[in-house]
């Protein structure tokens, strides 16, 4: 717990693509809120452009993507490309959802620092954010 006016870690939680299963994203947003972060939640059905633009305007430290549709290898590279296009090149990236083990390597190569699959303890996500963001 930090002082109310101290510099806060800002996290964008977004759901790219067309699946509407947002419970995971909401649980993670809530856990980060309880961990003292300021969490911008943008809701479902976000395009890569919308996510990158929100990350820019909100000047977040962390972007967390949730996806359950299986389209992560199509959509995540586009999110990363849109972020780069806007000069947002210093955010911590993580993702979660239904992501097969064999996709771990391509996502790591893309710049994702962690993948949180179903069954993850939310405290591990909070710990991950605090360990990787220096403020």
């Amino acid at each position: 717990m930090t002082a109310p006016t101290a510099t806060k870690i800002r996290v964008l939680i977004a759901k790219p693509g067309l699946d509407g299963h947002d419970r995971g994203a909401k649980v993670v947003a809530r856990a980060l809120r309880d961990g003292g972060c300021e969490v911008i939640y943008t809701g479902i059905r976000q395009t890569p452009e919308m996510i990158a633009e929100a990350a820019l305007q909100e000047d977040v430290d962390v972007v967390g993507l949730s996806i359950l549709s299986g389209a992560h290898l199509e959509l995540f590279p586009r999110v990363v490309a849109e972020l780069k296009k806007r000069g947002v090149d210093d955010v911590l990236l993580f993702c979660g959802g239904i992501i097969p083990d064999e996709d771990t390597k391509p996502l790591e190569d893309l710049g994702f620092s962690a993948i949180f699959r179903p069954g993850t303890n939310t405290q591990d996500i909070v710990k991950f954010v605090y360990e990787h963001v220096t403020k």
């Binding site: 717990m1 930090t2 002082a3 109310p4 006016t5 101290a6 510099t7 806060k8 800002r10 947003a29 809530r30 980060l32 809120r33 309880d34 961990g35 003292g36 972060c37 300021e38 969490v39 911008i40 939640y41 943008t42 809701g43 452009e49 919308m50 633009e53 929100a54 820019l56 305007q57 909100e58 000047d59 806007r86 000069g87 947002v88």
Partner: protein, 321 residues
Amino acid sequence: MDDLVQRFLNGERRALARIISRVENETPEGREYLRALFPHSGKTHTIGITGGAGSGKSTLTGALAAEYRRRGKTVGIAAVDPSSPFTHGAILGDRIRMQDLALDPGVFVRSMAGRGALGGLAPAIDEVVSIMDAFGFDYVVIETVGAGQDEVEIAGTALTTILVNNPGTGDDIQALKAGIIEIADILVVNKADHPGADVLVSQLQALLSLAPKGSRRPPILKTTATRGEGMDALADAIAAHRVELETTGQLEKHRAEDARHQVLSIARAILLEKIRQATPEHELQALVDRVAARQLDPHSAAEELAAAVEQSEPRAIKRRV
């Protein structure tokens, strides 16, 4: 620092976002940015949107911004949501209602956490609005935290304050009470497609007719923000209010009062910080314990704290020499 200021002045949105963060966090660097950019501010029309939780403030903000875009104007939005009083974390969800504007280069949305400030605003709201103003937006819309009956601070910050009401949320006695309803320059009955909208409009009209002769009667407008209905009339009413402010001399008065308020509230924060620095934490705790044990009254304790600043100041100078 100069590089970021230059990029800001060139209209680069990432520079705007970064400077807002530094200003919002009230860092010494942030104060430097504010100093550099403040001379560029003072041109925008600030609009405050307030009302209860779930009254449709975010949707209305988005719909109003869309109307301004149709009119060829640019809009900065500062949307405040509450911070947890326990963990100081926050969920900032106002963007969800403004998706249509997500990729519009003439709109910039910034979510802010309340960080314990009173009045449904954020501690650095004035500063962030000044930065958006300096960036050159035609309008800066400030959306407050869901407000109850008494969050009137928005009227000091915004030139035009809009109070969002909904049908079915109380009888005409609610509208008769003092407080937030008095600060509204424009009254909006949002969710006008719900039953009871016309009843609420007549209740508000009846209330306004009780005001003393010659006092200003805010217009009452019906909107259905989810469908963008009523936005044309709302934008017109805001423009009319602006003309009214200019012709009655209220504009200068508002700006002078806002400046006075900002200076005094910053001075208060500086003094409080000095008090905290002049008294070590264990001494403060000891003093507070005596108050909690009813050995000392709070007023005397506070005077002791304030006196410590006066004593510590000459000491601090000596130490530096």
